[in-house]
Amino acid sequence: MKNYYPLLMLISTVGLAFVGGLAVACFTKINSIMFLGDERKEVKHFHVSVYDYLSLGIFALLCAGIGFYPQPFVRVINDVAGKSFMPGSSSPALLNINWFYISLIFLAIAAGFILIYLCKLGINKKYGRKISPAWGCGYERLNPRMQYTASSFADQLNTIAKTVLGYHKKIKPPAEIFPAKNRFESHADDFVDSKIILPLFKRIDTFISRLELLSYSDIRYYVAFILVVISIYSLIGFLWI
């Protein structure tokens, strides 16, 4: 019998690459919309405590630590995957990797980056550096409201997967030649939520609502129901023995 485990691993890797691509798209979208460009409205009261920075800093340090020295963490994950999910099928490929190289290469990247950046600073010092408004393709009065939105960033990806995501847009077409105030909305429904979970609960709700005929205000009916149920259970118990 052929061993298809490596094929399964390759397909998993490709799946991970796909998820990785989506993660890059999601992270760049969130990070860009929150931190980059200019704020649309001026934020007057904004305060972050030292403890907030500290708690997030711990996670950031952990991420950087795993990036620079991943060996112990990979070993733990490999053990968990090998012993719990696919007993006897654990791949030695991950453990065979000399993770020292990874650490060394990340250090080389850091060192190389510093070197290139210092060269860049030197060149900037020699030939100058200045700040100017962003390119507006001839339009001079750019303002923060014209910046790219998160919806626009995700639009192309959402459009491709619109069947699965239930992606839809609402926009009123302009009625006149000159643009007037308008409204635009885009939504992506959760496929599992809207097509599976919610319809299922709706059917259950419909079914349960039919049992409403058993709902009486007189407590004696309830006592009678309890007696009937107890009798049924007792009969089942009697026949079982």
Binding site: L10, G20, S32, D38, L94, Y127, W135, Y148, S152, F153
Partner: protein, 308 residues
């Protein structure tokens, strides 16, 4: 690693870094000839890089430190990725078990910073480019693993050098498998390097660009670093493709280097021909084009696995 291999690796890396702009120049020259023009000299990219290096740097008002560090991160990522490739089928400077994953993600790191830097400007033009780059990356990344990854799977290897050196031409199924892989790699290279029919490196219409629009607000040394990185990236993908021809170069190292150079030159001509005879795809067709490359990669792998 012995001293000879180390020197060989350093020379190979220097060759990529020095000759990368020439490769782009050769493509442009051939493209000009095919369209009936004299065209710029093949060393034109060097002149352009030199010009950029002497220009004043202008940054957009809303840009932050991300725009400042991104060009340098891009270049160093490309240099590290280039150091992992077997130039002339020789042992690269960086080679170890699992380097194929590092290679993919070092290139991913460059892409990640480029998207962030584009969004950092706050302009809609760069935003559009960044959105396109992020969307196409979702479809492009699996192609790499379904091509080079499937060659690795065929022999249970995870080092780029070992993967290429495991290619043999002793089985018809395997030959077909490698040929289809090379087609997928070519599609990937065209996409990743923003060449026709995905993107037009010569266009200057902001609304239709991908790579160029992301660096629209860069100038001086920043633009130099981005342009140089893109030349190195083009060279990297050319080597990824050319290395699939290893079985023709097993006799000796001199023949190997000659065959490698011939394949690289043939690739430059192929790219020039493709860019001459094809028009750009509409942006909405690009994901379909990439899914086609993924689909043939999947089918190729399945056929090979079940007929092996």
């Amino acid at each position: 690693m012995d001293i000879n291999t180390l020197l060989q690796g350093i020379i190979a890396l220097l060759a990529i870094l020095l000759l990368a702009p020439l490769f782009a120049g050769v493509i442009n020259k051939q493209k000009a000839i095919f369209t009936g023009r004299i065209g710029a000299p093949v060393v034109q990219p060097y002149y352009e890089l030199k010009r950029l290096l002497r220009k004043e740097t202008i940054n957009a008002g809303s840009s932050s430190f991300i725009s400042d560090i991104s060009p340098a991160v891009n270049l160093i990522a490309m240099v590290v990725a280039a150091a992992m490739l077997p130039v002339g089928f020789m042992k690269p400077l960086i080679s170890f078990e699992g380097d194929i994953i590092l290679f993919a993600y070092v290139l991913g790191l460059a892409r990640f910073f480029q998207i962030l830097a584009a969004m950092d400007i706050g302009s809609s033009f760069e935003g559009m480019g960044a959105s396109r780059e992020a969307t196409f990356a979702v479809f492009a990344e699996p192609i790499f693993f379904f091509t080079i990854g499937s060659v690795a799977f065929a022999d249970n290897l995870t080092s780029i050098y070992d993967i290429y050196h495991s290619i043999k031409l002793n089985n018809v199924t395997y030959i077909v498998f490698i040929v289809v892989c090379s087609i997928s790699v070519l599609i990937l290279a065209v996409t990743e390097c923003s060449r026709m029919p995905i993107d037009d490196p010569n266009t200057h219409l902001e609304l239709t660009m991908i790579h160029e629009v992301m660096i629209l607000d860069n100038s001086g040394v920043d633009l130099f670093l981005y342009q140089y990185s893109s030349y190195v990236k083009l060279c990297i993908y050319a080597i990824v493709e050319a290395s699939l021809f290893y079985p023709f170069a097993v006799q000796n190292s001199y023949v190997a280097v000659i065959i490698f150079l011939v394949v690289i030159a043939a690739l430059a001509t192929t790219l020039a021909v493709v860019e001459t005879v094809t028009a750009r795809f509409k942006l909405k067709f690009v994901p379909q084009y990439l899914l086609f490359a993924t689909a043939i990669g999947v089918l190729n792998l399945l056929i090979y696995t079940f007929t092996k």
